[in-house]
Amino acid sequence: MRVNGTVHPAPADPRRLLSDHLRHDLGLTGTHVGCEHGVCGCCTILLDGAPVRSCLILAVQAEGHELTTIEGLAAPGAPLHPVQQAFHECHGLQCGFCTPGFVMSVIGLLAQHPKPTPEQLDEGISGNLCRCTGYASIRRAVQRAAELTQG
């Protein structure tokens, strides 16, 4: 599988979750695990460009696919991705645990709806739980990200 542009060998253990493989075999600990049953969305990554739950996929199933994790959005020291930048500007994160999952989901949302309506926006982030922000600042961040993305 190719992760953030780098090809990695196939995982050895057939029952290893993709989320565990990313975090503990590849050291990409920005992908977080909040429930391990596909509800909270913390582990969301992009698989061939679309948001998926990495805790519901076995690592071996990702063979032959292109994966992007939060670490792949902006190189260390480089400017933030527009969605990351928008979360910063709008105080869209507090503890930051759910944040990578939200950022990946919002990238998926904006790819589908570059100017989301309020309903599309809520629908687009309704697969991710946040316990800190009450979502208000995340909604603002999505709107800001849409502005930044359109330049």
Binding site: R15, G27, T29, G30, G34, I70, Q84, H91, C95, Y135
Partner: protein, 778 residues
């Protein structure tokens, strides 16, 4: 001190690493650690007849399986964090149960293996034979005491406390009107997105134990571990790295894993880690809020409360590791922002076969607020008066501060409100709420509230100006997302006249600052914020003293601004703070940007030793803050809701919050705290119900069935602030962390009651509950 940064909407310094996926949470640490799994009781109450670990130990890759007998502290009761004289029958669990288990999820065995997959396989192979015992699961069942949770605790009562202000019996006897209410609040779960986790390493060569723990109080954990393992505290480091939300239950002394992981690391000579899964979080992390209240109120024909008698039962769960803080807070906070001339409150803290209780954001207050506000609504209904008008007539007036409630606070002192303007909060909330929307089945709810914040005893901080001119600041309080590093940097930057981006705050690491208490009770801003101001103020004085010598000026004529110490009114006569940092060390072979600048201020010969007696090298200082009492924040929430008469879906049409946390350090951060708190309150009021069955099994221990709100359930929240500074701390601040959650249940109850015309006497509600209430009425 200038206030360039204090009060500004400074964007967070924490964000960059978190947004890049380069945060540092406990489970992110591997470093060759063995992984572990805890075998937990599937029964809520059972006697352990036998445990067979042979198959588990034989599984390849398993390094150890521990039972109580294998632990030197295995037959020692864990500590009671906050003992209290009224806690006459306090009981705590042992690290691993070996005789009786008293809640589903109680730890029985601990498996350590090469990885977590093997550890979980081995946990499945641990054979435990249980003899089920009768289960006590609700406060009412516990109080009836047909069965006992602990054989040696009569009536299941851990503690009982009675307090009285005035003469309730006489006042009730002559009150023109009386009303009785039965009000019930169910348990809730804090559910931070990151579960709990512990990582530990023992270094034999350094003789040092290092523990990473997603805790709200690393200093307490360090002290406890040192005692239990017989180590000097200086050989134990506890670090709370990035913590993915806490909201209360991440503070304990101890959860079993906080002992088991370091113990195994010392035994096995390799790092060991344990990471909770979500189901464990539901079954083994403290919960709160289960209380049943009987209320008797006497009032006059204008709706003024003359006497209030509250008798409540607190569901304490199976053990009392946290003491009886929660019912003490409820007892203290029922009167809230109202003048209650005669108040009697009794509580019993009873054992049940459920997870122990400890504070969850709000801690005793949401239920206290619910009790008082339901009572005022009942008075309004009885007299046919406007609900808001009844509240206004009972509010404490601005000229009544300091206001003594007459009952005990959680710190053992009396409850004394320090400052506030409660009528202004109500008026502003009504103004913001505006006219009632058109339509049927719409209700309005309004609830003012108070919150005791910033309990002591103390916190400290260390501030140092480096020779680069950058500033580092440390404190013991850890961070779980409240922007501590940003707001404390604002306070330090103002004291030292530097840019906020030049201040780097590190917290929750006992290697850097070993003293302190922890993050809870909305105390971090007040406690560590003021400690930061004290320490930075000391550094500023020291900088002036050093600079004065070299500028040949009087320290009183100097100011810190623009990264320099300079003569007031002559900004070109100054010395960079970086150079002062170099000069502060008599051995001036310093490294960094300040060195060159310092040479032009080369020491002039003077008598005496290079380091004068009583002085210390370095431009740094340690300061502490310890308040005489809590600062009382307040606020008022109001809402319009609509309840669908067919589906009983709740629609929050408008939700407004007016908030007073004294002087605001960073309005953006405070608003984030409020928005998050309200969302948790809405979850607790309408969506999140912990469904225990009669056998003590939590039937919805997953996010699929425990319905934490998504964005689709949470409305826009409109927020405004008023500021009544606290006279109890130099910065005039009050806590803000819990305020958002406190009155939400009361507001939703009041609004739904009006919308549907059915009496609301319990929390949480749900579409099903409202359907049943509506049906029973028709």
């Amino acid at each position: 001190m200038t206030t360039r940064w204090f009060g500004a909407r400074v964007q967070r310094v924490e964000d960059d690493r978190l947004l890049r996926g380069r945060g540092h949470f406990t489970d992110d640490i591997d470093e060759g650690a063995l992984e572990s799994c805890i075998v937990r009781s599937p029964y809520a109450h059972a006697r352990i007849k036998s445990i067979d670990v042979s198959a588990a130990r034989a599984l390849p890759g398993v390094k150890a399986v521990y039972l109580a007998d294998d632990l030197p502290f295995g037959h020692t009761d864990l500590p009671i964090l906050i003992p209290h004289p009224n806690l006459t029958h306090g009981r705590t669990q042992r690290c691993l149960a070996s005789e009786v288990v008293r809640y589903t999820g109680e730890a029985v065995a601990f498996v350590v293996a090469e990885n977590r997959y093997i550890a979980e396989d081995a946990a499945d192979l641990v054979q435990v034979e249980y003899e089920p015992l009768p289960v006590v699961i609700t406060p009412e069942v516990s109080a009836a005491a047909e069965h006992l949770v602990h054989d040696d605790v009569p009536g299941n009562v851990a503690a009982e406390m009675l307090q009285e202000v005035g003469d309730v019996k006489s006042a009730l006897a002559v009150a023109p009107h009386r009303k009785h209410l039965h009000l019930r609040f169910e348990r809730g779960a804090a559910s931070p997105m990151e579960g709990r986790a512990v990582w530990a390493r023992w270094s034999e060569t350094e003789h040092r134990l290092t523990v990473y723990d997603s805790t709200q109080s690393p200093t307490s954990i360090r002290g406890g571990l040192a005692v239990l393992f017989g180590l000097p505290e200086s050989d134990v480091d506890v670090i709370a790295p990035d913590v993915g939300g806490g909201f209360g239950p991440k503070i304990m002394l101890f959860y079993p894993d906080e002992l088991l992981v370091p113990f195994a690391a010392m035994q096995l000579g390799r790092p060991v880690k344990w990471t909770e899964d979500r189901q464990e979080h539901f079954t083994a992390v403290n919960q709160e809020r289960g209380q049943v209240h009987e209320v008797e109120v006497g009032f006059d024909s204008d709706g003024r409360v003359l006497a209030l008698d509250v008798d409540f039962i607190h569901d304490g769960g199976a053990y009392t590791p946290y003491g009886i803080i929660l019912p003490i807070i409820t007892a203290a906070q029922v009167p809230g922002p109202y003048h209650v001339p005669n108040y009697r409150v009794r509580f019993r803290d009873v054992y049940t076969n459920a997870i122990p209780t400890s504070p969850y954001r709000g801690a005793g207050r949401p239920h206290a607020c619910f009790v008082m506000e339901r009572t005022l609504d009942a008075i309004a209904a009885e007299l046919g008066l406007d609900r808001t008008e009844v509240r206004r007539r009972n509010l404490i007036e601005p000229d009544q501060f300091p206001y003594e409630v007459g009952v005990m606070w959680q710190d053992g002192n009396q409850v004394v409100y320090d400052s506030g303007d409660y009528p202004a909060l109500v008026n502003r909330a009504l103004e913001m709420l505006g006219p009632r929307p058109e339509g049927d089945h719409i209700g309005m709810g309004l609830s003012p509230y108070v919150e005791g914040t910033g309990v002591g005893p103390y916190e400290g901080a260390h501030v140092q100006v480096l020779v680069s001119g950058k500033v580092v600041a440390f404190t013991g309080i850890p961070n779980q997302g409240q922007a501590h590093a940003t707001v404390w940097a604002q306070i330090v930057a103002d004291q030292l006249g530097v840019d906020v981006s030049d201040v780097e705050v590190s917290s929750g690491d006992t290697r850097r600052f070993p003293w302190g208490v922890g993050t809870f009770a909305s105390r971090a801003a007040i406690m560590a914020g003021n400690a930061m101001a004290v320490a930075a103020g000391m550094v500023a004085e020291k900088a002036k003293h050093i600079a004065a010598e070299h500028l040949e000026a009087d320290p009183a004529d100097l100011e810190l601004a623009g990264g320099s110490v300079r003569v007031k009114g002559s900004p070109d006569r100054g010395i960079p703070l970086a150079a002062v940092a170099v000069l502060s060390n008599p051995m001036r072979y310093a490294f960094g940007g300040g060195t060159e600048a310092a040479t032009q201020f080369a020491a002039k010969p003077r008598p005496g030793p290079p380091l004068p007696e009583g002085e210390q090298p370095g431009l740094e200082a340690t300061g502490y803050f310890s308040p005489v009492g809590s600062a009382w924040a307040a606020g008022c929430h109001a809402a319009y809701v609509r309840v669908d008469p067919k589906t009983f879906r709740l629609e929050i049409l408008k939700y407004v919050v007016v908030h007073d946390c004294g002087r605001l350090i960073n309005p953006m951060v405070v608003e984030g705290q409020i928005e998050g708190g309200v969302a948790q309150g809405i979850g607790g009021a309408f969506y999140e119900r912990l469904a225990y069955d009669a056998d003590g099994q939590l039937r919805n221990a997953s996010f699929m069935e425990f319905l934490m709100p998504y964005a689709t359930e949470i409305p826009k929240i409109e927020i405004d602030h008023i500021e009544t500074p606290s006279p109890l701390n130099p910065l005039g601040i009050k806590g803000a962390g819990e305020a958002g959650v406190i009155p939400v249940g009361a507001v939703i109850a009041s609004a739904v009651e009006e919308a549907l015309g059915v009496p609301i006497t319990e929390m949480p509600l749900s579409p099903l509950k409202l359907y049943e209430l509506a049906k029973s009425r028709s």
